[in-house]
């Protein structure tokens, strides 16, 4: 059952794929000062995607079709066998409609902050519903990373705002 829930962070709206793709795409039109930040956080999100994938794979690789069915993954099994797929926990496939690139630095960074907070909340709900202490260790790590990313994005907004103020003076 936990593997199914973890898919929310694999192919879900607030998951790691959405985060990684969002930042890596926004970075082309973000001010010079924060391109590096978006790039590095995006890269880290891709590595988190690998972590989630490893967890789902390890939880499901030896499961029989009956066990998968009992865990609510019968539909997943008939479409994908033991393969992973970018679905959310309800089996809905990933779509780029989950993310945005507005070409406006403040709009984009506020979306990024919101994305980190939503991912943090999702990790909290996953921890609350999980009964696996080892998976929970990793989920707590990922939850903390979302906190750090949110903080860095907030600082980036402040940096850009300072620049805006300077421009009006000169």
């Amino acid at each position: 059952m936990l593997a199914k829930y973890l898919m929310e962070q694999y192919g879900g709206a607030d998951g790691e794929l959405a985060a990684a793709l969002r930042y890596q795409n926004q970075r082309y039109t973000i001010p010079e000062k924060v391109i590096g930040l978006l790039t590095d956080i995006s890269t880290e999100e891709f590595s988190h995607l690998e972590m989630i994938a490893s967890m789902i794979h390890k939880l499901t690789k030896d499961a029989t079709p009956e066990q998968l069915k009992a865990a609510g993954l019968g539909e997943h099994f008939v479409a994908h066998g033991h393969a992973l797929f970018y679905n959310n926990a309800a089996g809905v496939p990933f779509t780029a409609a989950y993310i945005q690139a507005k070409g406006d630095p403040i709009a984009d960074l506020y979306e990024d902050i919101a994305a980190e907070e939503k991912a943090r909340a999702t990790y909290q709900w996953l921890i609350d519903i999980s009964d696996d202490p080892y998976i929970n260790d990793s989920l707590r790590f990922l939850r903390e990373r979302e906190n750090v990313h949110s903080m860095r994005f907030r600082e980036a907004v402040e940096m850009l705002k300072e620049d805006q103020v300077k421009k009006t003076f000169f």
Binding site: V34, G36, L37, D40, I41, E44, E50, A53, S54, H57, K58, V148, H149, R152, E155, A156, M159
Partner: protein, 80 residues
């Protein structure tokens, strides 16, 4: 994978993580000299540790020179 290899790999993962975290911090605190020094130190340490690990257990990335039979060898990260 032996216990020693596992331990060294974990140490390297911790060192690499330190680099990633301090790097993010420096993006939004570019004038923090203490942070800058810390980042330089831990980057050097992580590099040293990586070299040591690779000398014992083989390449971790494609940028490390290797023989052709090492191009695709297990375990991959999710198999550890």
């Amino acid at each position: 994978m032996s216990e020693e290899q596992r331990k060294l790999l974990l140490e390297l993962q911790i060192a690499d993580f330190n680099v990633i975290d301090w790097d993010l911090y420096m993006h939004t605190h570019p004038t923090d000299m203490e942070g800058c020094q810390k980042l330089t130190e831990i980057t050097k340490y992580a590099k040293k540790l990586r070299k040591h690990y690779e000398s014992l257990y083989g390449p971790l990335t494609i940028l490390t020179p290797r023989s052709c039979d090492q191009v695709s060898c297990t375990p991959w990260p999710w198999q550890v």
